[in-house]
Amino acid sequence: MSGKFQNPTQDPLLLRIFLSLVAIGFVALFLVLPLLIVFKEALADGLGKAFAAIIEPDALSAVKLSLLAAGIAVPLNTVFGISAAWAVAKHDFSGKTILVTLIDLPFSVSPVVSGLIYVLVFGLQGWFGSYLLDHDIHILFALPGIVLATIFVTFPFVARELIPLMVDQGRDEEEAAISLGASGFSTFCRVTLPNIKWGLLYAVLLCNARALGEFGAVSVVSGHIRGQTNTMPLHVELLYNNYDYVGAFAVAALLALLALLTLVFKTILEWRYADELAAMHRH
């Protein structure tokens, strides 16, 4: 046979170049460029102005509120997600498909609708409205409402990531652990959890990013009280609508930085534990 050996899985050179260019172009245009513009606009009047916009009291309060809401919602959804995935993947029970479908609900419902549901339930005219008023409990236009909305919207992230992972792993290792004398709890901590920790980390980071960035549902329940119930995304919108572009972009840039930070954190962990990761994937 004449001619060079061609790798059977290798596509023609031109096609490869074309596909690479499309991919790079797409990423640059739709992901990198907007991010760059956010930072450019934030620094339009210099670093000092951007910094001032962030440490201004209303902005700081928005940052605090966002971190607090995520700080409550993410751990709760992590615990819930692990429990749900564990139940679905490692046990048989009736109503399993219904549970899985329900977990997906927040993904399929528009966040605005989710927010409106809370207004319907907890609002003055809502089911519990008069009860809450009588007992002076504030849910809407206050922290509890914002936390509830955030929990609802970020509900599926952990469970969705873990279910296929745990189904794929099966029950073999858990059975081995039990037969070696481990209790259910110790099997969970020593076998189940370590086997899902990378997927879990990824899911928690995504869940956190979404919790910090949630706009629609939170916007409906927050009431937009500047300095009190405005989260970071809501504060960005408020500044933007008031033609304070530097302020809006500065807070937006901070939000983007938080997201980038989580990605850096994930990359560092992956790099640090490369050996262990490789060992887990080959088997």
Binding site: E175, A176, L180, G181, A279, H281
Partner: protein, 239 residues
């Protein structure tokens, strides 16, 4: 202290996997289970190990009502068909697992655990491999780790589900002699599942030939071979 299995039955959905299996074995016996795929060998082993619940029937072992005991209290060392090693742990940690999860009162000290793991690594001839992960081992090495892990808990009963399934004939021959040696040394009662009847007849004290959820014949290898009781056994042995 013998093993008495009495009319154990198990169905999956409507499918009968075990149709009343009875079998007696003296303490310290090495029993081989042979039979075609799907005949219920793994199911019987899983019931003995407490990983599956029997629908009816009873098992007495060491004068205990075996089936009413939770799996974790049975001290039945299980060697799985697919190894089921802990992927995220090194070989040494895999072997130490059964000792580390003991309640504090019964747990050996760190030093004792380390010594015990070394001893077991030597026993399964993997002294240099304690620091490796299961993914970095060959099939036969993984199988030996699985055996060492099961032996670490000082089991009263060893349940071996085709432990040499993935290995070539030569290695199997070496390992079965070695396994029999370990069985004798540990003084356990072992149930050993295999597809390979030659292997079963070579190592076991007693052989049970299973078919469609039943034991067709049970006895000493020489007796079963000399005098097959059913047409199925005769055909199975001549295959």
């Amino acid at each position: 202290m013998s093993l008495i299995i009495d009319s154990v039955a198990k169905r999956f959905a409507r499918f009968p996997a075990l149709n009343g299996v009875s079998l007696n074995a003296p303490q310290g016996a090495f029993v081989a289970l042979v039979g075609p795929s799907g005949s219920g060998k793994t199911t019987l082993l899983r019931i003995l190990g407490g990983l599956e619940e029997a629908d009816s029937g009873s098992v007495r072992f060491a004068d205990l009502n075996w089936l009413s005991m939770p799996a974790r209290e049975r001290k039945a060392g299980f060697v799985f068909q697919q190894y089921a090693l802990f992927k995220h742990m090194t070989v040494a940690d895999n072997i130490a697992f059964g000792l580390r999860v003991r309640p504090r009162r019964e747990r050996p000290s760190r030093g004792e655990i380390r010594d015990r793991v070394q001893e077991l690594l030597r026993l399964v001839q993997l002294e240099e491999f304690g620091g490796r992960y299961p993914s970095q081992l060959s099939g036969g090495q993984r199988q030996r780790v699985a055996l060492a892990r099961a032996l670490a808990i000082e089991p009263r009963m060893l349940l071996l589900d085709e432990p040499f399934g993935a290995l070539d004939a030569k290695v199997r021959k070496e390992l079965r002699v070695w396994l029999r040696h370990i069985h004798d040394k540990a003084g356990v009662t072992s149930i050993f599942v295999t597809h390979d009847q030659e292997e079963a007849f070579a190592v076991a004290d007693l052989v049970a030939v299973m078919n469609a959820g039943r034991i067709e014949q049970y006895g000493a290898p020489a007796d079963v071979r000399r005098d097959p009781k059913t047409k199925f056994v005769a055909e199975f042995l001549s295959a």
